[in-house]
Subunit: 323 residues, 2 copies
Amino acid sequence: MATVTELLLPVETDLEDLLKDLRVLIGAGHPILQAAAEHLFSAGGKRIRPGIVLLISKALTVDGNLSSRHRRLAEITEMIHTASLVHDDVVDEASTRRGVDTVHSRFDHKVAVLAGDFLFAQASWHLANLNNLDVVKLLSRVIMDLAEGEVKQGLYKYDATQTLDSYLEKSYFKTASLIANSSQAVGVLSDVSDYELSQLYNYGKQLGLAFQVVDDILDFTSSQKELGKPAANDMASGYLTAPALYALEENNRLSILIEREFSSNGDIEEALTIVRNSNAINRTRKLAEQFAKDSYESITWMKDSPYKKALLNLPEYVLGRLY
Amino acid sequence: MATVTELLLPVETDLEDLLKDLRVLIGAGHPILQAAAEHLFSAGGKRIRPGIVLLISKALTVDGNLSSRHRRLAEITEMIHTASLVHDDVVDEASTRRGVDTVHSRFDHKVAVLAGDFLFAQASWHLANLNNLDVVKLLSRVIMDLAEGEVKQGLYKYDATQTLDSYLEKSYFKTASLIANSSQAVGVLSDVSDYELSQLYNYGKQLGLAFQVVDDILDFTSSQKELGKPAANDMASGYLTAPALYALEENNRLSILIEREFSSNGDIEEALTIVRNSNAINRTRKLAEQFAKDSYESITWMKDSPYKKALLNLPEYVLGRLY
């Protein structure tokens, strides 16, 4: 089983350049934003989103050479992603993300608002200057979906009556839309056919959904140490994901615990046990497997290359995080 | 001397429709955003920015009829403006704006971040769907300038060595860019000549600068009751504007007070007296008059109409706030 670093090896140098560019772009001329940029774009992050953009870009060329517009698109993708994380952490009052301090806990929420706005603004400026209206539309749709997802997520907090469809819609808005639309945007810049455009979109969409569903399983099955946050942290915060929603179909006791917002002692532990002892994790894993399979099958038409190989391995890598 | 309501009379119904649309657009489906939208887009605001867009739009038509794209542009202008205000208030920790509670003090800073992001996202989505790359570029430049201005403003806090040019640049970023670029964008949608495009830009730029400079004078000359905030509030917060910068040229004592951040008892009152007793207010007024004159002269080429008349009266109205 390859690691993500191994998978992204064909674009490793490009990703390093990209991080360097982003640090300069964001930090220039402002000491506090510079510190925030160092913090956000330091080495060690997985950068899977710009990695996908770069891999698709290279897979669609004849010679594996990247144009400056393809590089810029990868940067824009990472800027939008990072901006939305920084603001989400303010809205969700998260103090750490994957074990690392968030901007608003390391600095304060004012710096986080400023840094996020600055990133969004840079993204929208560079986006306009790619000079392609279709790409502008695809990525502005992403910005809209991210905001919509954050709003929806707040709306469904502790709502035991929400459907699996509304959970998947939220997951699309918050995770899959960026990967789907930026994958399609690569195709627009590379002038591929309409069929291939829709397949690129589908590759990103299904991969993004698989990624989110696997993340939601890990929230229940991993330990605090592995997650960098307490187990079942999402559920405890009121964010109900696929495992909780499936478990609700089997066990009515769970909805009582959720509706009283886990306010009694031991509620969270009891809820965690209910989910773990149900068939929910199994069913959620099947869901992730279906998304990963659909993602894989969407790009079999690409001509063979190390980039295509990495892209085909990504869905399996996403599932592999479960084992 | 006309009031702003009288000046905007030729587009009064259009502005009412616009506010109704914005409340629906932002509030739909989310109770807290709906409350924030009601708060932000309630009657009583001056809506001078979309008013200018609508007046120019009508002045450039043959029959005074607005296209849906011109209306949408006016909405986008107000969305971007409102989003930046909501986030600025978080960054500046302002609890009131013109005497009214800010979103983050009425609700909390999390709602303010979410509402601002949602507005920016809606703006960028509707912008892309105007289907005109030039308009996208003009308005994404605005979003960039607003973020840059907010960053710069923080950077120059309590900096008595900053130049008048850096103050004017900041004022352009934070106030004039939106009016200048949206005025030009109307011209793009209305297909006017390159000369007229640059004149529309200049009209908005000079008007925006006049507006900001007058605001900065009022901060020193008005009472707390008139301002809805304490007099010399900007200076006390470390934001040095034209009157303070001119006064610094005359009186070295002021720089001592600024550099110790008005930390001793009576510092603010002493600084206020220095500025008021200097020639600074007078010089700043002359600056505003020049901007207003330049603005007026930029649109004399328009054919006569009630809309042109209102646009020509706006620079004078801006100066009139001083008397």
